[in-house]
């Protein structure tokens, strides 16, 4: 007995593995995708009648491969193919024999390669993400277009262009050595992180549309960690995404206004995601191989562990940002650290810290949000107003602009109000 829901779930779950193996055989994305489609169609025809094969993933890899080889044969009858490629998984015995030949570690490199071809450095980040969603996650173009808030045909074009570009690019198909593997992992991790941010930073009326992007990023980082279970940076990446996503339900109020981290109703945080994130942070730290994702996850963990914002251990957050600044210096990291410094030593020190960043962050919404908030706390209202106006001009969403307007309104009413800071700093 094989119900369709099971078949559907099994097909989706093994998609990266099957498509990754087919890509290794054919080296061309379109050919691998065609073979994959055909294998799925045949599975949908065969499995409900005959029951699922012992290894559903291996079954599809062989069916897909043979289909494509048949195509080649049909086109070129002259070419003879090696005996080995002639085998079809007709009986359970040949099937399991063939499955045994597929090395587990090869699956791992197949999936990593599939993810990596989506991360070609020539592709802009948005195209990398769209491609990964289409190819690895198997989302439809319509679903991706919806998540990116663009039309379906525009997204279709974007994906087609991106595919053409990576087809022209030269991704090696040999089993990667340790340095290549590490390089691929880093590129893929960055892509997953950007995918998550694409879903996370979107606020306001469309927030609900973009939650699937966050969930997909979490799913991909879980996949990556299952492949590389002892890699502490991937533990850190998954932990970071889980701890941030845990707050999703509290980040917007009923009217879709942004709720700052310090004002969020923490009872609405997802305690299950937090517990898993904390477990992963703890596990990662045991490895004593510090990395940027682990530190960011550790910072998120500090916030996750206190019941109300007033108990936040800002000294610990400042210390963690100091480490992050040392291993991955960036003006955005310093900006985030300044928020902790403001809590610890006051807005004056924090302002001194961010002033040198003005040139580098002149187009960055959060810079002016933080600057305005610090100036407000120092009762330098006129300068605060200028900073907030600049922030509104740079806002990415209506909700961000509305949030800054709230600050401006308060400045109008009160000369020294309590200013909040955009929640994104305190990730």
């Amino acid at each position: 007995m094989t119900d369709m829901a099971w078949i559907d779930a099994a097909l989706t779950a093994a998609r990266p593995q099957v498509l990754g193996a087919l890509l290794r055989y054919f080296r061309v994305l379109d050919a691998a995708e065609d073979a994959y489609q055909e294998a799925c169609l045949r599975a949908l025809k065969t499995w409900p009648v005959k029951g699922p094969p012992r290894d559903p993933a291996a079954w599809r890899i062989f069916v897909g491969r043979n289909f494509a080889l048949d195509e080649v044969r049909r086109r070129n009858k002259q070419t003879s193919l090696p005996e080995e490629d002639d085998i079809a998984p007709e009986t359970q015995d040949t099937q399991s024999e063939l499955a045994d030949r597929l090395d587990e570690s090869q699956y791992r490199d197949d999936i990593l390669r599939l993810l990596f071809v989506c991360c070609h450095p020539e592709l802009p980040a948005t195209q990398q993400i769209a491609l990964a969603l289409r190819i690895v996650s198997g989302l439809t173009v319509k679903e991706i277009a919806r998540a990116f808030l663009v039309g379906e045909s525009a997204m279709e074009q974007r994906i087609t262009r991106a595919k053409a570009r990576i087809t022209a690019a030269d991704v090696p198909f040999e089993t990667p050595g340790a340095p290549e593997r590490a390089e691929r992992l880093a590129a893929v991790s960055t892509m997953i992180y950007l995918l998550f941010n694409e879903g996370y930073s979107a606020s306001g009326g469309n927030a609900h549309v973009r939650v699937p992007l966050c969930e997909e990023a979490i799913r991909l980082s879980r996949l990556l960690l299952r492949l590389f279970p002892a890699n502490s940076e991937i533990m850190g990446l998954l932990a970071l995404l889980l701890l941030q996503h845990a707050r999703a339900g509290a980040r917007l109020d009923a009217e879709n206004n942004i709720v700052l981290l310090e004002d969020q109703d923490r009872s609405r945080w997802d305690s299950g995601l937090i517990a898993e994130g904390l477990a992963l942070v703890e596990k990662a730290i045991r490895h004593r191989r510090v990395g940027p994702y682990q530190i960011q996850a550790a910072i998120a963990a500090v916030h996750s562990q206190v019941k109300n914002a007033a108990e936040t251990d800002w000294a610990e957050i400042d210390r963690l940002y100091e480490v992050l600044e040392a291993i991955q210096p960036s003006p955005v990291v310093t900006l985030n650290r300044a928020v902790a410094v403001a809590k610890l030593r006051g807005p004056g020190d924090a302002l001194t810290m961010i002033e040198p960043l003005a040139k580098k962050l002149e187009g960055y919404f959060y810079f002016f949000g933080v600057k305005g908030a610090l100036l407000t706390q120092l009762a330098r209202n006129e300068e605060a107003r200028t900073a907030f106006n600049r922030a509104i001009a740079l806002a990415n969403t209506a909700a961000e602009a509305a949030h800054i307007r709230l600050h401006l309104d308060r400045l109008q009413k009160d000369s020294a109000p309590q200013a909040g800071t955009p929640e994104r700093q305190a990730t």
Partner: protein, 122 residues
């Protein structure tokens, strides 16, 4: 007799469920547990975190600590129930009620040989 009901499922399949689907399934399972509690047979229930959070300690003179999961097996232990049932038949009937609420996976019934030389503190 105490029976443990161990839930095995492909983690990749479980990870494919949306939060809504998962919440709905856990809600239906909770209803079955309410029934068990009414019958006085419900013991501890645990949902285990994904195997990516696992740590393995290999036994020996100097135990080694290894990150899980090991090489991909098809199904992983994702959680367990402990029920007090008068017979295996009864335990099977109880497990069937749970299985009916889950889309895939296997439940394994293993009688519990209690090892409680020390009073638990939880």
């Amino acid at each position: 007799m105490l029976y443990s009901i161990l839930c095995y499922e492909s983690e990749a399949l479980a990870a494919g469920r949306t939060k809504q689907e998962d919440d709905a399934m856990m809600g239906r399972l909770a209803n079955v547990l309410v029934k068990f509690k009414g019958e006085g047979k419900l013991g501890p229930v645990a949902r285990l975190m994904p195997t990516t959070t696992a740590t393995h300690i290999r036994s020996g003179k100097e135990p080694a600590v290894i990150d899980g999961p090991f090489a991909e097996t098809k199904e992983q232990l994702l959680g367990f129930y402990v029920l007090d049932c008068p017979s295996l038949e009864d335990a099977i009937a109880a497990a069937k009620l749970l299985a009916a609420e889950k889309p895939h996976g296997t439940l394994e019934i293993r009688p519990v040989a209690v090892f409680n030389p020390v009073e638990p503190s939880l």
